[in-house]
């Protein structure tokens, strides 16, 4: 007697729990996976989109590209829109994590710069797997309080004046590519790994700590603990505009790593129409101008959106200048083999500081 009643109780609990989960996942929700504080989760943007379309946005976040891939791998069907760095699009497509996008449903797609929309990283077999959203740089950012005039060279990071006041991101690929730029190499075809290793080894004693989110970086500047470090162009803009921090972006003469962020729709999305509407909204000039003005953002892939900015806007004047275009190197996909090699080097460097 006792046992069946227990079984019945357990079954009832299971049924109740699954019914509850189903009810919570209504079809009208758009589940978005992106970096935290990166446009898609701005409350005003979410409110505007929800008012215009009737869909409800549910945001989820990741702290590294690998975590993003892990999340879509381990939660098939949960997400409808995912923001993927173009260099990772290949890997996501090969892993059958994302599906082709019907761009005819996106009215703003035609305004995207041709070189971005046609990027071989986002197009496979004539199908579009990623809609270019914004692009930007992994360059340097400085704490204005520590400099009379902004430095021009990457070598500033190694300066004795900044010992213990330098910050870089805890990311093997970014660190190695940064070392490649510092040693004058092509980031997508690193020939001399020893030079990269030597550069990074001598940088280690300069470093205060590693950052992994924008929040880390901004807090370090707010408490005046760092002078200079690697940072993303959009984040530096946000730190200055939105958080009113003394931060300036520096594009060193040696160059900088450029990246392209794009939106994709995961395989198994339960609300493809909602996903398309959301992506179209994200590349809309109106959203972009509001994002830049209120919060600060990287450069839109939509040419009309950039043209809608004031003429002297940083994202139009500096980032759009031919002089900068010459210096930057766009990040190409990194193979698993390279990634493991970079990680081994990065871990070795981190262990050797002990």
């Amino acid at each position: 007697m006792r046992m069946p009643r227990l079984t019945a109780f357990l079954t009832a609990t299971a049924v109740f729990v699954s019914a509850f989960t189903l009810a919570a996942q209504a079809a009208e929700e758009v589940h978005v996976l992106n970096w935290k504080g990166y446009g898609a989760d701005e409350p005003w943007a979410v409110a505007n989109f929800e008012k215009a379309t009737g869909f409800k946005v549910v945001n989820d976040f990741f702290n590294s590209e690998q975590e993003m891939l892990t999340k879509i791998r381990t939660n098939p069907g949960l997400y409808d829109v995912v923001m993927i760095n173009a260099a990772f699009n290949d890997q996501a497509m090969a892993g059958k994590l994302i599906q082709p996008i019907d761009v005819s449903k996106l009215s703003n797609y035609a305004d995207i710069a041709k070189d971005k929309a046609g990027s071989p990283m986002l197009n496979h077999d004539g199908k579009v797997y990623g809609v270019p959203w914004v692009w930007g740089l992994t360059a340097l950012a400085i704490n204005d309080k520590s400099f009379d005039k902004p430095p021009t060279s990457i070598a500033e990071m190694w300066g004795p004046a900044h010992k213990g006041r330098v910050i870089i991101r805890d990311d093997a690929v970014e660190a190695v590519q940064f070392g490649a730029i510092a040693s004058g190499q092509n980031i997508n075809d690193i020939k001399d790994m020893d030079a990269v290793k030597a550069k990074l080894t001598s940088l280690m004693p300069q470093i205060k700590t590693f950052w992994s989110s924008e929040n880390d970086w901004n807090q370090m500047v707010a408490s005046n603990q760092i002078d200079i470090g690697t940072y993303w162009s959009g984040s530096a803009d946000r730190a200055k505009t939105h958080f009113k921090l003394p931060v300036s972006l520096v594009i060193p003469q040696e160059g900088a790593v450029a990246w392209l962020d794009a939106f994709s729709i995961p395989v198994g999305s339960k609300n493809v129409a909602g996903a398309e509407a959301f992506i179209n909204y994200m590349i809309d000039p109106k959203f972009y101008v509001e994002w830049v003005t209120k919060v600060g953002a990287p450069v839109s892939a939509n040419t009309k959106a950039v043209d809608a900015l004031p003429e002297d806007a940083f994202n139009r004047k500096v980032m759009g200048s031919p002089d900068v275009a010459k210096r930057i190197q766009f990040q190409a996909p990194v193979t698993d083999e390279q990634r493991e090699k970079y990680l081994a080097l990065w871990q070795e460097l981190k262990v050797n500081v002990k």
Binding site: R73, V353, K354
Partner: protein
């Protein structure tokens, strides 16, 4: 006679079953199954997700031995575990003694509350509050400079001592609680007898109190040492560039590079090493106890 005993014990087991069932069901579902899955993963070349090819391999375990990186980090983590345990004994044992033998009534309750208070707050909150205290221009730095006539510069943040401070703070209540229980159980007349027979206070401590409270010390040390060796959150936040430990590398394998097989293999090597250490220490500790 033997049969009767067997029947008797079986009769004893049957009514006990509903009482045991929830705990064992929980252990099976929540611990045994995921852990077996991890053992399985640790022998695979890749995760069988999205139709990826995979096969069985010992390569993940071989990786530990082929690179000095992992053993260096394991030693660093073991050292961290020992140091944190030692500081917990130094700080926690006297506190437990005072709680058990000196304080009475209300004051004991109040002090006890202070000891377990940190348990009621989230671990991450505790670590981030340490970050505010320890950094340059932080609470400790500002407070000391406001009081002292000369200028000192305290910047403990992002260093090995910061990791030790954060971990000791998180784990010292375990030591206080386990030692308190054994110390409280010591009959006061034993201490009085020792004193009246001419032993000094130190001799009483060394010959009576410490041996009798040894089980609590050992339990506390094991409770602290094992999680500290595998800790990753505290070193990552408080350690800065020196915060790379065995636990953070395992975390990287799961979170940053999605190499679950290697992460699982590294975890089981850690488990094996910890078990060997506890097994080797067991006879010594038992004799001491």
């Amino acid at each position: 006679m033997a049969d009767q005993l067997a029947i008797g014990s079986r009769r004893g087991l049957k009514p006990a079953l509903p009482l045991l069932l929830p705990a064992y069901l929980w252990l099976t579902v929540a611990i045994f199954l995921p852990l077996s899955a991890m053992v399985f993963f640790s022998f695979m070349t890749d995760l069988p997700l999205a139709g990826k090819e995979w096969s069985f391999t010992l390569g993940n375990y071989a990786a530990f031995f082929s690179q000095s990186l992992y053993s260096t980090l394991l030693f660093a983590s073991l050292r961290l575990g020992l140091e944190v345990t030692l500081w917990c004994v130094v700080i926690g044992y006297p506190a437990a003694y005072v709680l058990a033998k000196v304080l009475k009534g209300r004051s004991r309750e109040a002090i006890f509350l202070l000891v377990i208070l940190p348990f009621w707050s989230n671990g991450l909150v505790r670590i981030f509050s340490w970050a505010m205290v320890l950094r340059e221009g932080g609470i400790l730095d500002t407070a000391l400079n406001a009081v002292l006539p000369f200028k000192i510069n305290i910047d403990l943040m992002y260093s090995y001592p910061a990791v030790i401070i954060g971990l000791v703070h998180s784990y010292v209540p375990y030591m206080v609680l386990t030692c308190y229980l054994t110390l409280q159980a010591i009959d006061n007349s034993l201490i009085e007898a020792g004193r009246s027979l001419g032993a000094s206070r130190l001799q009483v401590l060394w010959r009576v109190i410490i041996p009798l409270s040894m089980p609590g010390l050992i339990a506390g040390a094991a409770l602290i040492f094992v999680p500290v060796v595998g800790s990753f959150m505290e070193p990552r936040i408080l350690g800065g560039r020196t915060g790379t430990f065995y636990g953070t590398v395992i975390e990287d394998q799961f979170v940053a590079v999605f190499n679950w097989p290697l992460g699982a293999a590294l975890s089981f090597i850690l488990l094996a090493v910890v078990l060997i250490i506890l097994a080797l220490a067991a006879p010594v500790l038992r004799r001491a106890g």
